[in-house]
């Protein structure tokens, strides 16, 4: 037997022994675990929830308020221990351009803005004014208290919703591989202008105590979906896509969540 063969044999024996001892030294079991995480809000005082109306702002062909109320009611029914009150609540406020024009509020704002400039006050943007008007509605404790009284003091969920189409065109980097004259792959980087649009959804949820009318918790989420200008994307399907991203975070406020993972038990 040659020297090299002896060495290979010795190394093989040693390696097998090493493997055997290593396996025998550390037996363990991997187990799946679910870690409970409490809901953000302690809702032990409430047995029922009323999904109220939302102040909404969109110029797209979409009924933001009723779609959201319906979606939240379904999700709460499926995922929370609270009994969902089946009731339609009067619309809180539509702040779409068309609604503002029709109600004369847009004109009222233009007059107010012109007057502010005339007397030397700082200018206020239309969006800031809309936000202030929406705050007034959402923070009207008397209104929420009365609504709470009507439905026997449940937890009330309301808030503000804004859904808008926005321009997102710009330069983006593009990497591609090409073969050179020696047939070797080569990375070529280039930038190109892409015409893109986006739908943005901002949802701020208000959790209101039906007994006092006071807001006990507020949570704001913003999500965006970008698509090429030549791609088909309807406002309604984009809205559902964005709400799908927001819903788990919304639910974590009112329902306990679980983190799933694995841990190792040692014998």
């Amino acid at each position: 037997m040659g020297l090299a063969r002896h060495r290979r044999f010795a190394a093989g024996v040693a390696l097998s022994l090493l493997c055997f001892t290593a396996c025998a030294a550390g037996p363990y079991v991997e187990v799946p675990i679910e870690i409970p995480i409490d809901a953000k809000l302690d809702l032990s005082d409430y047995g029922r929830v009323l999904v109220g109306s939302f102040v909404s702002q969109t110029n797209e062909n979409l009924d933001l308020d009723s779609e959201t109320s319906r979606l939240l009611r379904n999700q709460l029914r499926l995922n929370s221990r609270l009994a969902v009150i089946e009731a339609e609540v009067e619309p809180l406020g539509d702040f779409s351009d068309a609604a503002l024009e029709a109600s004369g509020l847009a004109e009222q704002f233009d007059d107010m803005a012109a007057e502010a400039v005339a007397i030397g006050d700082g200018e206020i943007s239309r969006q800031e004014w809309i936000d202030l008007e929406q705050d007034k509605l959402l923070e009207d404790e008397e209104y929420w208290r009365q609504l709470g009284e009507e439905f026997e003091e449940p937890l009330i969920i309301s808030g503000r919703l804004r859904f808008a189409a926005e321009e997102r065109s710009g330069f983006s980097r593009r990497d591609r591989y090409v073969r050179d004259s020696f047939n070797r792959p080569r990375l070529v980087r280039s930038t190109q202008f892409q015409e893109r649009n986006a739908y943005t959804l901002t949802a701020e949820f208000y959790f209101i105590d039906g007994a006092s009318g006071r807001t006990i918790h507020r949570e704001r989420f913003t999500e965006e979906v970008i698509f090429g200008r030549d791609e088909e994307s309807s406002a309604l399907s984009s809205y559902f896509e964005l709400m799908d991203r927001i819903l788990p975070n919304f639910l974590s406020v009112v329902t306990p969540q679980t983190f799933r993972g694995t841990r190792i038990l040692l014998r």
Binding site: A10, I35, L266
Partner: protein
């Protein structure tokens, strides 16, 4: 005197060294347990293994009880501390889980599995603390 040919000599030396190193590595935890509490170490090991068995069948309360007993019998048993950490974490007792994992890691700092459990736990615990902080902040608002 007859001498072994050089290749054979080196092979035997390697085998002997492997057995020596491997054997001592395999025996290390048991040896430390036995040394730490004569008799108690062995019983602690048995309770720990039984805990793993029942946890595998989904009986986590029983498993936690066994691991608590194992730790009581031998406070130097890193495996029981690690397993107890998993049981505490699973039932939402995060402070207790943290202590158990830390003790396990102190007793056996080079153990990959304990370190992995500890790091995954820290990640989940930090997330939970962040959620609690958010909730407290919004309650104050």
């Amino acid at each position: 005197m007859h001498r072994m040919p050089a290749p054979f000599r080196s092979a035997w030396l390697l085998v002997a060294a492997t057995l020596l190193i491997g054997g001592s590595a395999a025996a290390q935890p048991t040896a430390s347990l036995e040394a730490s509490a004569s008799g108690g170490g062995e019983r602690s090991g048995q309770e720990n293994s039984f805990g793993v068995e029942v946890a595998g069948k989904g009986l986590w309360k029983e498993a936690a009880y066994r691991w608590e007993k194992a730790v009581e019998l031998d406070p130097q048993n890193p495996k029981a501390h690690n397993n107890l950490g998993v049981a505490y974490e699973r039932s939402g007792k995060f402070e207790e889980a943290l202590k158990s994992y830390e003790t396990a890691l102190e007793l056996m700092p080079s153990n990959e599995q304990i370190r992995q459990n500890y790091e995954l736990f820290r990640e989940a615990y930090e997330r939970k603390k962040r959620k609690d902080r958010d909730a407290a902040r919004s309650r104050r608002r």
